[in-house]
Symmetry: C3
Subunit: 350 residues, 3 copies
């Protein structure tokens, strides 16, 4: 378990923090959050699914976050309409605070032309190139590399071994998980007979505020212009975003998603794991692509899609359930054809 | 070819090593293992498939590992019931020994509170954070990062640029290939209207003895609690294991597999390349998921599955063979329908 | 936008560079390339699709690269039969030149037995092991790791955090994007009852001239022998190439492709994103595998394949279009069967 960065709080204190109400003892001390099954004294847990509400008194937790007051249960309750969000905020209280700034540690290389804000932490093995700017409160864990001209905002968290190539920009409160790569060359080669000539990728990447990029995910720089990751996007591990893509605000991509070049994705979309989108297409707002779904052409907003090429999720579910019946269907069709031809013959003979 | 770390051995010496028998000259000197097609003097090769046994005398190798004595062949033979395992052990003899410890090299940063065992190698650019422990005989290649409180067991091999985040634990003889990421944040965000709030991931990762994690594979830390990779698991490159997953002992995952959060996988399962499992499900023991298979809901043990959603492999094979016939089937069905309606009409008219 | 590395050129100068002709003002000064929609004064843009030729005079660019002289347009034109290739070459003029060599920077670790060519750049945090050779004009960005015995040719560009393991070889003009991993262990384990024993991977990787490997892509070393990436291959991000694979000259792989062990791929093949090939198969020359296609067994050259298992692309398109109709087909088949049995009954009764 990761060390706490905040002292214990009373249940009332946490309720005030999330804007919720207390049922039971407001003075009970909470030290941390724990899973429902294992939570004990000093721990708060949470219930998001109604089916678990009946089991509430099974818990030994000092308090439970619930969506409404559960009168049949005697445990202490922190009542908030969106318990999962309350859980997030209580976790933020206990674990979300950045550690104290440690300055620039020995073994880091900072170009003299780089401009650094206040309360910065730069661990050994980091490289901050010429003309970089790093905002106040930002942390660069060991072996982070910023090529020349990179701009990083305030209160960012760049984990170990994340790399940002030339002239890319990160907004405020951006998180890069370890090994995330920002600004690698887009995949652009011009065929010349059977060979390929490199098209230098002179564009950049712009990552707006409050974006998180997962471990070993790669956001390619534009061929010309800018690859955009808009405010609030959350991108999981091992995701590929190709050159000149634009990902709309608050869009979420689970692990191993791949987005091909120049595709424009609307705001508040959701991509399940291993989903993909072809290049040079437009995806509307609020589109959900199920895991492994593949969007092959432009699609309107406000729908749930599955399969390859993607179709409405319910259609895909039905077709997928029929798929294993395909050999039976083929045999039946064959038998039926024979039978019909036989009937046709008999009919002729009558 | 990688340099040998062990001197040549007699065929008898190698047979003793693997617990096998010799046919032919026990004193012939073997310097290395080589592929069947190219093996020559001083080299041993192996045959695992019976169909190649007839070709045995084509080889110029000094000896061949075979599953049983092949009396029709005159070449020297190392006889062992599981020739592939014998091959592994002979390779281990020639190449498996760790190089001599080199201590802590200049350019590595070791926190004074870290505890290091004996016979350790820590290359330049490594960072070992506060409160870490590193067991005897362990090697950290250049630019390995251990955040604070990480525990690494004995005789581990952490290749260049692998990263282990706060408070994660690695057992003994664990191998991380280059760029492997242990303990990146799980992908947890609570929706708050159209936006998302980060759920700090306060759990850890526990990697047990004899596990190998491939290059650029990512094992996320738990939201609360622990992500478990049990003893003997072998995980290939670019694999994603999400938060709170439990992977059972001796389970094998080929490259680019993705396992979503909180899923529990039994022991001795096998995942083919690019296979996936949805979150919050249970997968029994000895389940084999074929390449690109996708497990969408909990499944019992001891079966082979394919497709998305996964079905028994034989069913999938049949359905997949029928799939390209689908347009024909559709046309035939249409024609048959017309014919039947015509017959119906004719029947009415009689 | 990345800084220019070359001064402005006249349109005639660029035409001479690419071997094309000028229509309009040969003396107009061009400072950079820009997208068609945004290009303005001092910028050149390009048109590859005929449908845009009619819009040519909408541009405010100082010149446009076109495949043939467009007489209806009054803008300055650089005429070249392959405008995309001309674009590549103009981009190379402005952005393709390597920056001036900076020598070995403080904070890099170079083994005294390593041999370095002239005009080299080695940034802080790099590690060059015993017996390595690095050719003239090659750049190692921060935190690149070369294990012992690695050979890197001339004019290579190894981006930050790329890693090359023991005794692997890179030819001339090879580009590794950040985090690329060359020579990680192949995934080889021999079953021993329910457990697995590691097969040490003693082979290497050979990457020939003019190859580019994407960010976080992994090329595994051979078990025995060599994994080959032939001249001119272009491999995108997050690609897995397993041990003992051979990728033919000028073959292109988009992001997240996975190639299983010992497969041999012919020259000038193209793999779309997330495509895959099974192990131990042969793929002919000039094969195109569509995105997410999966080659399960050996295939001849000169074809376009899709689906899993892969089939001719046109067949796959038709079958995929029929797939959502599967539930309807099943219902119709059932209804038709009932109707036919009813007709059969009626026929009997007559």
């Amino acid at each position: 378990m990761i060390a706490q960065v905040a002292p214990p709080a009373t249940l009332q204190g946490l309720a005030d923090l999330v804007g919720g109400d207390v049922f039971g003892d407001p003075e009970v001390l909470i030290e941390r959050v724990a899973p429902f099954e294992t939570a004990g004294k000093g721990e708060i847990t949470f219930v998001t699914q109604k089916k678990y509400l009946a089991d509430l008194d099974r818990t030994k937790a000092s308090a439970v976050i619930v969506p409404e007051r559960i009168s049949v249960a005697e445990c202490n309750q922190l009542i908030y309409s969106n318990p999962y969000l309350a859980f997030a905020r209580v976790q933020q209280y206990f674990h979300g605070k950045a550690p104290a700034a440690i300055g620039i540690q020995q073994g880091a290389t900072i170009d003299p032309t780089a401009q650094l804000g206040e309360d910065i932490s730069i661990y050994p093995g980091c490289y901050v190139g010429p003309g970089c700017t790093v905002g106040s409160g930002t942390i660069l864990y060991p072996n982070v590399v910023l090529y020349q001209g990179v701009s990083v905002g305030q209160d960012c968290l760049l984990h170990a071994g994340s790399m940002v190539r030339e002239h890319c920009r990160l907004g405020n409160r951006v998180v890069l998980q370890p090994g995330a790569i920002i600004g690698s060359d887009g995949f652009g080669f011009a065929p010349d007979g059977g060979k390929y000539e490199k098209i230098p990728q002179s564009g950049t990447v712009d990552i707006e505020d409050d974006v998180e990029i997962g471990a070993c995910s790669c956001i390619d720089r534009a061929a010309l212009g800018v690859t955009h990751i808009r405010r609030g996007c959350k991108i999981d591990n091992l995701v590929q975003v190709a050159h000149n893509v634009e990902v709309g605000e608050d869009t979420v991509m689970a692990a191993q998603v791949g987005i091909a070049g120049s595709t424009i994705i609307g705001r508040h979309c959701t991509f399940g794991g291993q989903a993909a989108a072809a290049g040079h297409i437009k995806i509307g707002e609020n589109v959900t692509v199920a895991g492994r779904g593949g969007i092959a052409s432009s699609v309107a907003g406000n729908q749930v899609l599955s399969g390859l090429p993607a179709m409405p999720h319910r259609e895909w579910l039905k077709a997928s359930m029929a798929f294993p019946r395909l050999p039976d269907m083929r045999r039946e069709l064959h038998q039926l054809k024979n039978l019909v031809h036989e009937l046709e013959q008999r009919l002729k003979e009558k």
